[in-house]
Amino acid sequence: MAPILIPLGGGLLSFIFYRKGFSISLLASIVGISLRTDGPSLLMLLMTGVTSITITLYAAGYFSFRIASPSKPGRHERQLQFFWPLWMILLGSLNGLFLAGDIFNIYVTLELIGLSAVALSALSAKPSSQIAAFRYLLVSLLGSLSYLLGIAFLYKTYALLDLDMLRLVPPMKGAHTAFALMSVGLMLKTALFPMHFWLPPAHANALAPVSAILSALVVKASFYLLFRFWFDIFNDLVTPGALFVIGLLGTGAVFWGSIQALRQHRMKLLIAYSTVAQLGYLFIAFPLTQIQEKLYWLPVICMAMGHGFAKTAMFMASGAIFLHVKHDRINELTGVRAYLPVTVFAYTIAGVNLMGLPPSGGFIAKWMLIYAAFEMHKWWWGIVIMLGSLLAAAYVYRVVSKLYVMPPDTIIIEKKAHSMLLEWPPLFLAILSLILGILAPYMVSILLLSKKLVSIGGIM
């Protein structure tokens, strides 16, 4: 597949070029499509970039490890063969999504992301993963269609597709419907409780690098859009009641996801449910976002980045453990520390980030959210966030406590070659997620930088 990979990967990675603001359209008119970049999208690109490099390294290690110890000859070669192009397209379309400045363009990019994510999650040959992938595909299509219907209504109302133009239009009849349809579509793709049902099986049954990609990047992409629509583009349409409902759903996600995570017997399912819970926080941020504050993006971006890094690290670590132990049943993971110390350490640090302990990105986010909750006299959201952190601590502890036990009869499994690439990328990401709080000033400066760069090309 290399002949396809090289031009395609090259072509798609070239999306990164757009950062310099090449205009896509020939004519500087509103018919054209424009790519835009600003602080939040730059940060999301940054996160995608860092995560993707690490995932790529890890995937290289992962597949060579699997191929070196074949259980079914040919299977892993096939997976490897298709993993790279799919992953490259996914990466390219993610970057494309963060740069998109046109709602229909976003639809096509969403489809690209959805299809490549589905194909990736179907790579694992397990029957359960096929079912999960099919369900994922249906949900993804349903979400896109709902979004497209929203576009139809929006176009009927305004005859505009450009995001920056849409930001300026006054609210009109029909816009609310369009906005609701688009939001529901995106929420479905972001797996907001109770529309999360497809996520845990799809994420838990995929190959380890794929789970990392899905959890860290794919759901974040649609969340990013959702947040942008709600607070950046269509802020006039947002009502306090809607925000409250979103917050409630987020609360539901936090509790339901955490409790389900506590009930799982498999490590990967636990991590997948914790994604549901962590996404809940992102939605609790909705009623706590004060648009008049300049930095309203900061808590969600911090949370998304921190969670992205940490979750990637966790899935990678669980993958490494799975490759060595051949299962991921939590109760039988004792003694792993003896031969995978770095992995276990990475998992622990990533867990610390999920709990939101300082100085992780999650801490900064939770701090800002609770602070906002008090300032807006909605302190109950603060309590929800704190309880959620405690639950997170509980499910992280469930795994970590097993990993740190060293029964006297631990059999030391010999480390195999390629382990470097399996062990160090997760540690890198875990540490990054831990010190994200310290990097917050830089994130702030990037966010502020945005205001100077808004919208390149398109409208003149």
């Binding site: 800002m368 609770i370 704190m386 060293m406």
Partner: protein, 499 residues
């Protein structure tokens, strides 16, 4: 930022970097690890002493790292932090020496010493924290770094103790975080400063401030093991002896007590505490804990558990002293107990560890006649125990004396009664041990005896308790000299009472 500010960072790094290096060491690099550990500890002591001298001469140390507009990490050295910092660095040196001897030939030493060093860095961080956020940061990190130490043995029981510990401390931590943020929405960013925030705020939000204090108090009270939040401490006794020594004497418990001091003196300020009428609440909680801990200690047969309950009781003397913060004598007594209790308790734990390691003795009832086998260890133990009871001329006497004077000055007769009763209880649970070991004949073989050539036990296990025992006597005897903890505490208290 002052040029001296970097000293604080270096102090933190002096144990952090050895810790990180130790993590990556192979298990059998025994010598290198020990050298690294000891040199880190020595370096830290030297740096801390330099800082102390600087503070004495009025030098100010501060580093700031601004994360966001309202989130700022501040390292700041004032006399109070110097006190805690010096205590932890001196005791770290001794504990490291002890731990090297104690864990000889046991598995996972890299892991252990790595977390051990991190734990000390974090404790120093707590000492040097310049505002509540930084304090919170290190406070939560302390939980994380001590947890692996508690479950170091990896047994079912250790895990259970560990999960107890986490449940308590994380709940406390959450409440703490919650209330810190709440406080900050009311007061804006606040640094630790003698006198606390402006009294105008108290007038503006009296109820919220009272509730907040209770929340904060619960948050730090978990680590300070105030009843009913003390449940984790006796359970955590499952950890290896150096860990218990460190947990009880320096790190966790003291972090909680230190937190109480900071909140009362530097966040709320004595005047605000008085106007909110909160000091008696603190006093009652402390008194109840003192009595409860002593009674429970009396009932324990397991030596380490008895010591643990004794810690529950003794740490609350600090809170008791702080609760009478308007009287300089009481405040002096409370603060100086931070140091005295640390040194005395670590001595006791060292000795208990020696008994367990050398003779296999874990229970009080097995201790008949051990002083003949291990005279030096039991000598140190006796000094520590007398200190706890408050017999002159030990350090413990000094603290209790000042506390007593304070209670007389503030005419809080019930405090005096608590002091007397608890000293009596202390005597009740320590004296039998001393009598048994020195004056009774051995009637059964030792459960698990090991022989050593020159001394009664390994020299590395013997030196630390002897040194600390000497310190107990010295700081008791020369309490009035210029370099004793007592005069340092006076130096601190002057500062606060000037406000």
């Amino acid at each position: 930022m002052f040029a001296g500010g970097w000293l604080l960072v270096i102090i933190l790094l002096s144990s952090l970097i050895p810790g990180l290096i130790i993590f990556s060491l192979e298990e059998d690099r025994h010598v290198f690890r020990s050298v690294l550990n000891m040199s880190g500890a020595l370096l830290k002591i030297i740096l801390v002493l330099i800082m102390d001298v600087g503070i004495l001469f009025g030098q100010s140390y501060e580093v700031r790292l601004r994360l966001l507009v309202d989130i700022e990490l501040v390292l700041h050295a004032d006399p109070l932090s110097a006190l805690f910092c010096t205590l932890s660095s001196v005791l770290w040196l001794l504990t490291t020496l002890y731990a090297i001897g104690y864990l000889e030939n046991s598995p996972n030493r890299s892991h252990f010493f790595g977390f051990f060093s991190l734990c000390v860095s974090v404790t120093t961080g707590i000492a040097l924290a310049g505002n509540l956020i930084t304090f919170l940061l290190f406070y939560e990190m302390l939980t994380l770094t001590t947890y692996p130490l508690i479950i170091h043995r990896g047994t079912e029981q250790a895990l259970k103790a560990g999960s107890h510990y986490l449940i308590y401390t994380f709940s406390g931590g959450s409440i703490f975080l919650f209330s810190v943020i709440w406080l900050q929405t009311l007061t804006g960013p606040i640094d630790f400063m003698a006198g606390g925030f402006s009294p105008a705020l108290i007038q503006a939000y009296p109820t919220q401030m009272t509730i907040l204090f209770l929340f904060l108090f619960i948050g730090v009270g978990v680590k300070a093991a105030l009843i009913p939040l003390h449940g984790w401490l006796p359970a955590a006794m499952i950890a290896p002896a150096p860990v218990s020594a460190l947990l009880h004497a320096v790190a966790v418990v003291k972090a909680g007590a230190f937190g109480i001091i900071r909140i009362v003196l530097d966040v709320y300020g004595i005047k605000n505490m008085q106007s909110l009428n909160l000091l008696p609440i603190l006093g009652f909680a402390a008194a109840a804990t003192i009595l409860y801990g002593s009674v429970k200690a009396l009932q324990q047969d397991d030596l380490k558990r008895r010591l643990a309950y004794s810690t529950v009781s003794q740490v609350s003397y600090i809170a008791l002293g702080v609760s009478m913060a308007d009287q300089s004598a009481a405040l002096i007594g409370g603060l100086v107990h931070l140091v005295h209790q640390g040194i005395m308790k670590i001595t006791l734990f060292f000795c208990a560890g020696n008994l367990a390691e050398t003779l296999g003795i874990h229970k009080v009832s097995q201790m008949k006649g051990v002083a003949k086998r291990m005279p030096l260890t039991m000598l140190a133990f006796s000094v520590g125990a007398f200190g706890m009871i408050g017999v002159p001329p030990t350090a413990g006497f000094i603290s209790k004396w000042y506390l007593g004077i304070g209670s007389l000055e503030s005419q809080a007769w019930w405090v005096l009664a608590v002091l007397v009763i608890s000293s009596f209880l202390n005597a009740l649970y320590f004296l039998p041990i001393i009598i048994k070991s020195w004056f009774q004949e051995r009637d059964q073989p030792y459960p698990d005896e090991k022989q050593f050539d020159t001394f009664e036990t390994h020299w590395m296990l013997l030196i630390p308790p002897l040194v600390t025992a000497c310190i107990i006597l010295i700081i008791g005897l020369v309490a009035n000299s210029e370099f004793s903890p007592l005069s340092w505490v006076r130096f601190i208290v002057e500062d606060y009472l000037l406000q």
